[in-house]
Amino acid sequence: MILDNLPALQVVIPLVGATICALIDRRRVAWPIALAISLVGIVISVALLAQVLAGGPISYAMGGWAPPYGIEYRVDVVNAYILVLVSVIGAVIMPYAPRSVAAELAENKQAWFYTMYLLNLTGLLGMAITGDAFNAFVFLEISSLSSYVMIALGRDRRALLAAYQYLILGTIGATFYVIGVGLLYAMTGTLNFVDMAERIVDVESSRSVLAALAFLTVGISLKLALFPLHVWLPNAYAYAPSVATVFLASTATKVAVYLFLRFFFSIFGARFVYADLPLTEILLVLSVAAMFIASIIAIFQDDVKRMLAYSSVAQIGYMTLGIGIANLNGLTGTIVHLFNHAVTKGALFMAVGAVVMRVGRHDLEGLAGIGRRMPVTMAGFVIAGLSLIGVPGTVGFVSKWYLAAGAFESGAWLLSFLIMASSFLAVVYVGRVVEIAWFREPTQAVASVEEAPLSLIIPTWVLVAASVVFGLDAAFTAGVAERAAEALLAGIL
């Protein structure tokens, strides 16, 4: 009975948890609830992935209304993988959260923070699991609204402006998305993904469908921060509370990438999007621009969180590059990079969060000599930094290997060279932090600092370890990613 209802439980449990947290409004109650729900989330998502890997896609009719009339939750390899990613990151963050949140937020706001975290989790999981275009919009809005609140909770006053800008642009993105979905609904008369994919074949040459594709492309690109629509992201990540930064950086853009994959491959169909439209070229140009320009911007940043945020924009460039390449290796690269980048960037932001908790600032100058005072935390930063660069033996290398192989197979060997060359820029910006943190004399403020508490170090190192373990043995992550890529390329949901 419970096994049958897992798809619904995945989303409903955090939603209910958020409501309880909001009603009780006590910090001491909110955190245990959030922690428990995150842990349950892992169990459910792993069970779903196991089911899907063994028995193929699961279809779940919400409230007993059969699809396509009711809302269908549909889990296949692609989104089961995303569900696992989101819930794993959520569960790793929760043990980290209480100390960090307590250090950065006023006491009366902490319960709200957990509420917003749970709502965000609901939204992201819902976007991933639903098989209904409008339902996806609802969850998109839930996750977006809650992330605006989480960002605005940052203690820096610029957090408010960052949240406002994200609100405006996020709303534009969501509006574009809903316009696109509306146009599709007008043409096909359905909101169900599977149904839509079947019916779109008959009307695909119509202007309305093309317009729908354009609106969806731009709308989702805004959410995933595709260059040049990335400008909301750096400030949002830089000024949000550390825990929110870790969670958003590791999951929010990844789910948006998933939605992109879903629309391009499962609904419009790879043949239509790639053969008839010049989308490949557009995506490749924007991706390469993201990889290089955002990395160069990252090099010149004075703030380590902003630097990592720009690095995220560059890494998103890798993901969209794989979508543009659109062969098995390239797409595997994209999907495996969703996971790989999530653990890597999560580890980096967690290490920075631990520093922020001890030192109280995240500009580069303030980190001078921090490596000597917080060696464990900063050693984690260095290893995760190596993964960001793509050193062999780390997850970063696995992603880049698949992407470069995909580029090469498609005949664009220049592209595979660019992929490797852009890692070179990551060497520079990671190297800057390493230099300041390890080779400079500690400033007075830093000299009296202690190592971060274990509750921060352990989650950080879990992600650091993951970025090495899955780099040494990529069989599981890359294997699932490859199956997901196969499923997408076959055009079947």
Binding site: Y164, Q165, I168, L169, I172, G173, F176, R207, L210, A211, L213, A214, F215, V218, S221, L222, P228, L229, V231, W232, N235, L277, P278, I282, I293, I296, I297, I299, F300, Q301, D302, D303, R306, Y310, V391, P392, G393, V398, W401, A404, A405, F408, E409, W413, S416, F417, M420, A421, S423, F424, V427, V428, G431, E435, F439, L472, D473, A474, A475, A478
Partner: protein, 560 residues
């Protein structure tokens, strides 16, 4: 027994990370014991693919044994032992950890049987050697960064080549390749960057002298010689290597003669010596390849010996400019004698290891009737004697009296120099053990009448040239700049004009390069920095505007 193969490099890498956590006494035991264990393991690796590993869909061969790998493995392990003995009194364990990890990854490259393993160890080597440089202190930061950038760039090029090779041929193995197709060219370029080949050779004299007195001993041994090894394995007989090698041999000499810093002189002379080996690989006959391998073996030992004596001087006096030194033979007899032995060996004096190895390369050039190559090599041999054979010992140990009276260095440093001196002379007198382990069967006799006479003539005349030049030099004792001693004391001649032109050209080139780099970085910062148009925070309206532009663009493109 032979079932279990322990990668020789792994022992050093793992051991390296234990160094910071043990007592000083145990640290020193490990420093001496680990290389001996590694040496034993080098000889326990069976021929053929000794260890296989499946990673990520590829069949890797992290350990593969054969004669060529054993030559380099042996000398690397010997070198780590010598270097470890020399550095026993190095207080900075970070440097030793990095140096041992660095040497271990060099051993890893030597035994790697597939391109991916080569690449992994290659990058480890780059990281560890950068740490060796950095552990010298604050001043080493800049050169270390430049070193790291060049080597990571080389790594990217190599990676692109390796990836291309695997995807085009499906062949992951590391064996001789033809120079055709871009993946192979990229691999060759990646290898050559580490060998110190043009146009990026400047990293070597820039970075190595920035390392500490002991760090440079390690650095001189592994990076360039690993490059020689991979070139020998991957591209034997590639004609381009012939010309690259000759250029390096000459380039090194010109700059070594112009240089004033004793350790930088020796750094330039590494490029020159590697040039000999690369030329040998370019010739590609069995004799030439044997010669290149033997020369790499001999070179590692005598270059380390030279750097140990230079390091001892630096350690005892804190100075390394030739103009600040001189007359140290009175109080540093051991360093003087050992340094001189190294200098004789690098000049390929008969009865030293340099003679028995270098003459193989020269003979190979002669046998193939490569007249130009032969003459250039002979001229370069004379040049080596000028800069490393005489200039280094003369200015450091003899020449004027600098007034300093430092004693010889501590016992462990003296013993390391004794050990390497013994190897230099031992191999010069009894070359058979070295010849026996070379990759191809050796039927070569270095001590024929014509070889010895020819070499002695060459050395005699270049020695004469140096002391003639020196007579003119004695009047200008107050010189402090690094290059101008050459033309102040001499009447203008072609050599002087060349030297002036080269140094002027170098100054201009460096200034131009510095200027254009500053300009590029400056304009990048202007646009991409936090205040710049690309990197700054845009007003919300501008963001919305660009969103609309992108939408309009997509619509237009889709409709067309």
């Amino acid at each position: 027994m032979s079932d279990i193969v322990i990668p020789p490099g792994l022992v050093l890498i793992v051991g390296a990370f234990a160094l910071p956590f043990v007592s000083l006494r145990l640290r020193n035991v490990l420093l001496l014991g680990l290389p001996l264990v590694a040496l034993a393991l080098v000889w326990m690796v069976p021929d053929g693919e000794a260890l296989r590993l499946s990673w990520f869909g590829y069949e890797l061969t992290p350990v593969r044994g054969d004669a060529l790998a054993r030559v380099f493995g042996t000398v690397f392990a010997l070198m780590v032992f010598g270097g470890g003995l020399y550095s026993l009194n190095q207080p900075r364990t970070l440097e030793l950890t990095s140096a041992y990890a660095y040497a271990g990854s060099a051993l890893g490259v030597v035994f790697a049987g597939d391109l991916l393993s080569v690449f992994v160890f290659w990058e480890l080597m780059a990281l560890a050697s950068t740490m060796v440089i950095w552990s010298a202190g604050r001043e080493a930061w800049g050169p270390g960064i430049r070193y790291a950038i060049i080597h990571l760039l080389g790594g990217v090029i190599l990676m692109a080549g390796v990836a291309g090779q695997i995807w085009t041929t499906g062949d992951i193995g590391f064996h001789a390749m033809a120079t055709d197709g871009w993946p192979r060219w990229l691999i060759l370029a990646g290898f050559l960057i580490n060998a110190g080949a043009p146009p990026l050779q400047a990293w070597l004299p820039d970075a190595y002298p920035a390392a500490s007195w002991s760090g440079m001993v390690f650095l001189s041994a592994f990076t360039t010689k690993t490059a020689v090894y991979v070139l020998m394995r991957g591209f034997p007989g590639a004609e381009i290597l012939l010309w690259v090698g000759l250029f390096m041999a000459c380039y090194g000499i010109v700059f070594a003669i112009l240089e004033n810093d004793m350790r930088r002189i020796l750094a330039y002379s590494i490029i020159n010596q590697v040039g000999f080996m690369v030329t040998g690989i370019g010739i590609g006959t069995e004799l030439a390849l044997n010669g290149a391998a033997a020369h790499a073996f001999a070179h590692i030992i005598y270059k380390a010996l030279l750097l140990m004596s230079a390091g001892s001087v630096l350690y005892m006096t804190g100075k390394s400019k030739c103009t600040d030194l001189g007359g140290l033979f009175r109080t540093m007899p051991v360093t003087t004698v050992c340094g001189t032995i190294g200098a004789l060996a690098i000049s390929a004096f008969p009865l030293t290891s340099g003679f028995v190895s270098k003459s193989m390369i020269n003979s190979a050039a002669g046998e193939e009737h490569l007249a130009v190559v032969w003459f250039v090599l002979a001229a370069a041999t004379a040049g080596v004697f000028l800069h490393a054979g005489i200039k280094f010992p003369w200015f450091v140990f003899f020449q004027k009296d600098s007034g300093m009276r430092p004693p010889d260095p501590p016992a462990n440093m003296r013993w390391a120099m004794y050990l390497l001196s013994a190897i230099c002379i031992g191999l010069g007198v009894f070359p058979q053990p070295l010849y026996a382990i070379l990759p191809y069967p050796v039927d070569y006799e270095p001590y024929t009448g014509s070889h010895v006479v020819q070499q002695l003539q060459l050395l005699l005349f270049s020695g004469l040239a140096f002391f003639l030049l020196l007579n003119a030099l004695k009047r200008t004792r107050t010189i402090t700049l690094d290059v101008d001693w050459l033309w102040r004391g001499l009447a203008p001649g072609p050599a002087v004009r060349l030297a002036r032109w080269v140094s002027a050209w170098r100054a201009v080139a460096l200034e131009r390069l510095g200027g254009s780099l500053t300009f590029v970085v400056g304009s990048l910062r202007r646009h991409h920095g936090p205040e710049g148009i690309v990197g700054g925070t845009w007003p919300t309206g501008v963001m919305a505007f660009w969103t609309t532009v992108l939408l309009a663009g997509l619509l237009v493109v889709y409709y067309i």
